[in-house]
Structures are given as C-alpha cells and as structure tokens.
Amino acid sequence: MQEMPLDGAINSIRVRFGSQALTRAAELPPPQPWPSRTPIDRLTGIGGLPRGRLTLLTGSGTCGKSTLALLLLAGATREFAHAMVIDTNSGFDPWTLLPFYPELSALTVVRAPAPEIAGEATATLAKAGAGFILLMGEIPEHWLGPLESGANRSGTVMVGVIDAPGRAFAHASSFSVGLSRTDWIWERGQLVGLRASARCVKNRVAPPLGETELEIRYPLGAKPLFDHQVHLTDVSSLKELECVSAVV
C-alpha cells in the first residue's frame, strides 16, 4: 500500500525537477575502483578504493592509519597528476612520505588553518577533478554535500584519516575501515613496527566483508619502509562480520 504513494511522489518529483533529480540507489552505477595495491582493496569488495566516494581510516593513535594513508598517498602521486593533502592541523611533513617513494611533482599540500577553509578546499578540488585527496581531519558538515557531489562527478578518490569521525562525517563516507593495534613488533629489543587489525565498519559500495590483520613496519635503518610495506599476514583470517552499516 505504501509503494503506490511513494511511486507517485517519485514521479511527481521527476516531472517537476527532471528525471535526474532523484535516482534509486539500485539504479546507480557501481563506483569504479582505484586499485591501491594494499590489503584495503580486498576489504572494499570491489577490488580497490571507490572513486568519487569518501573512504575513512579510523582508529585511536598508533594504530597505523597514518602510515597506511601515507602509503596510499605515495601510490596516488605516482598514478595521478594531482594528489592533494588537506592538512587541517599543519602536521603533515612531506619528509615522512619519502620512504614510500612518492612522485613529489604531483603532490600539493593545502594547509588549512580553519575547518571552513579545509572544507572549501576539499570541495573545490574534488569538483575540479583532482585525482586523489587525503583529508587529515574532519571538515564542517555543510561542506560534505558539495564534496560528495563534486567528487561523484569527477571521480576523485578521497581518503580521510581521523581518530573518531563525527556523525555527519561518518555518514558521508562510503567505506570505513577501523584499525586497532593488536601488538607491537620487537626485534633485538628494538621496536620495528606494529600489528593491527583492520575491520570494515561501513561499506556502501559492496556488502561489508570483514576484517584482516596488517603488519606495519616503521622505516628504520638503511631499509626503507617501502620494502616492508604494509602487508597481509594471514589471508585465512578473513571472515564474515555482521553488517554494521546497511547500504543507504
């Protein structure tokens, strides 16, 4: 009984505002993946980070999310003409990216002294068609709409790194991975890395898959971090999880 009025309402909206004004989620084309060549690709369910959508890496401090984000950023600088970092707290040092062999000519850092500027910069660059945007913090809620529409149109890959996202920011993301440190890695009495579990907490591009375990080694000594890059320690540990966030 409810479907009839709903269909009528949908039809009237389409007649009044055009056929593109309203689209059923099931009719939307699936997002195209950007293969990041990290274990995260496996978690998304589409073989890469979704283009035109916001991906969140969340977790408390020292869980490895920033290292993982730097790895994604370095890969993006090699594959995209424009890889942007929206640095909300002026804490990004390009030097930390060097162990991942970035293509620095493609890297641009936007130092936003206020969240409003960060929001404007992110939405503007996504609309302009920057290939990859790394968000180092949250942006105001009213910029999330322009951000989503701009990125959707241009296909920009957006990755946000944040300890605990706010409700609006979490809602705007299409794919969220929660990282938590499970163990430190010690070798010869020296801390060389950490183990972390990465759990898919939200997925709007494919059915939520599960979790995996990552081993992250810090760049120590002569061996760069890139040689110890993030890798999956136990593929068999993949297991189905309960659906945390339904497809909206």
């Binding site: 003409a81 424009h82 850092v109 936007v110």
Partner: protein
Amino acid sequence: MRICCGLTNHLELARRPDLYGNPVVVGHWEEHVVALSEEAMPFGVTPGMALRQAEHLCPQATFLPPDPEAAAHLRELISSALYDLAPTVEVRLEGIAWLDVSGVPKPGESIREARRRLKTAIGREPRLGLAPGPFSARLAAARARPGRLVQVDKARAFLAPLSLHELPLDAEQLERLDLLGLRTLGAVAAMGPRELESQLGRAGRHAVLLARGLEPDELTPWRPPLFTSAHRQFESTVEDREALLFVARALCSDLAEELGLRGAGAKNIRVRLFFEDGSQERRNSFVRHPLSSAAELFGLIGSWIKEWQPHAPITELWIELPVLESAGRRQLRLWAGGDGNGEEVAAALERLQERHGDEVVYMPRPHLLSSPLPSQRFA
C-alpha cells in the same frame, strides 16, 4: 615579397563622405593642416602648413577640426576588415592600407576583396599598387587610377625616373640633394649608401636603399585587440542569485567559445554589476595561468557572485577579459590519471590562494633532504 597598397583619403576626411568632391581642410585653429582633400591641393594647400595660411589660399574650403579618436576607430575597423585577407596588414591614418600578399593562395582575389572593402569603408574607390615592398607599392598606387591596380615587378626600374620628393626626407635634406645635382630616385640609387650617409646621416643611407628598391622598411602588422567581453542587460531587475549565476554561466560559455576560436586565454578577469539606481560595483582579479574554458571562467566568477552582496537590484552584468594572451596549451601527461583536469585544478588552487593567501597552497619540492632541520628539507 609582394605588397599590395591601397590609397584612399585621409581617414579624417572619411568621417564626412558628404563633403566628397569639395575642398576640405582638417586642422585646429592656430595649428597646422592635418589633412586635406584632393580638391584643395590645386589651391596650394599642403599638409603641415599653418591653417590660417590654408584659409588664405583656399577660403572656399570647408574647415573641420580633427577627431583623432574617430579616425583611430575607423583605422581599427578597416584593419579588422582586411585582417582575414592577408596575414600582415597595416593601415595608416593618412589613408594608406598595406597588405602583404606573399604566400597568399589567391592574391588576385584578396586584392579585389580588399578594394571592395576599402570602398565600403571609405566611400571612394581606392587606388591600388602591387610591388615588392611597401615604399614602391605606395608609389605605384599613387600612379593608379581610382579602382585600378598598377603592378610593379622591378622596383628599381620603376622608381628610377620618379622625383626625389617621393623620399621621406625633410625640406632641408631635399634641398641639399638638389644642390648635389640629384633630381631623381635613379640618381640617388646610383650613389653609394655611405656617400649619402656622410651628407645626410642615417636618413641618407635609408634614402639610397629606398631608391634602389631594397625596401629597408617592414610593415608593422596589425593584430586584433587583446580584449573581449560579454554582457547581459536584464529586461527586469534581478535580485535572485541563482538567476545571476545562470546568466554568468551562459556568458562564460560564450567567452570560452570565443577564446577557443582565438586560441587565447585570459589572465585578467573583471566582473561589473550595474544597479537599478545607476551605480555599479566591480571586481577584478589577475590569475597566474590564463583561463580559457567555461568551467575555469565560471569557477572564478561563480565564486565571486556567490559571495557578492549587491546593495540594489541588478540591471546589467558585464564580464570583461581586458588582457588576452596565448592560452599556452600544454602537453598532457598521458599516463597520469586526471591530468586532463590539470588546468581546472590549477585554477581551483589559485582561487584558494586568492581568497586565503598564498601560504595556503604548498607544493613541496626537495631542497636539502639530509638537513636535520625540517624547514630546510623542502623548498
């Protein structure tokens, strides 16, 4: 090199075609004659003489004050009318139009079309000359009947019998040459450039080269004005920002289309809003990279309009691009994703810098990576 020259009236006279056939003298009182019609010449009036003297010699002439702006505007119109006939065009206020028809596929058609357009612009048939250089082409045109062409193949032979007074020399220099026994261009051409240079200085050398048909002077090519604009006058006043954005987007598309045709880009963008009370507000900005696409233009102008707080209903919107330059298309990095949007991304970054300061955007380039100080590692 083949130069076609079209001779018409002085452009000051072309402002008043109703006076054709009557003696007309143009000049300010207490000053010199700027231009005169052919009908005034038999009375002894010459360009440069005092206007009072001209009045004394030809009292029946119509005396007009000069209007340099109108004449310059007419020159621009004629230049733009001839621009598509030959790559190099020069038009002077004296009523001389040169076209370099070297390499033009059908020079005859271009010359015929130039004659037709000059007649339309001036209202009189031009005299035409075709010669290896601008000097000989002008002299050839001066010897043609109205609407006819005098063609010169060997400039030196054509110039040789002509009077010495055709050379661009002042009266004193001409008198000096006369004292030397030089009466024709052929006599001047027979002298060595250094010999005449010792007598007249640099002008002497120049005169010898002209007389020999070597054409030392080159044309100064006219180029289309580096300015374009688009505007919309509203039938009823506009207070709705969305409507203003809609119109701005359409104007940006028009401008981008024109820029694309001209292969140009704009570094200076100006927007003016005219209000109901007759006042206006404007905003102007310089960008580092020339904007050429509709998205780039509207990206900047749309952001202005979104934050603009007009004090009254708007009656007219102007978008002006005062300085155009080459758009400088770049080679795409074919293997890098999203490089096709490079100009739009660059424009977006510039807008951010314009709004929030240059320090907002930072492109790290390695400097002293081994330095212990983080500030020294990147430039």
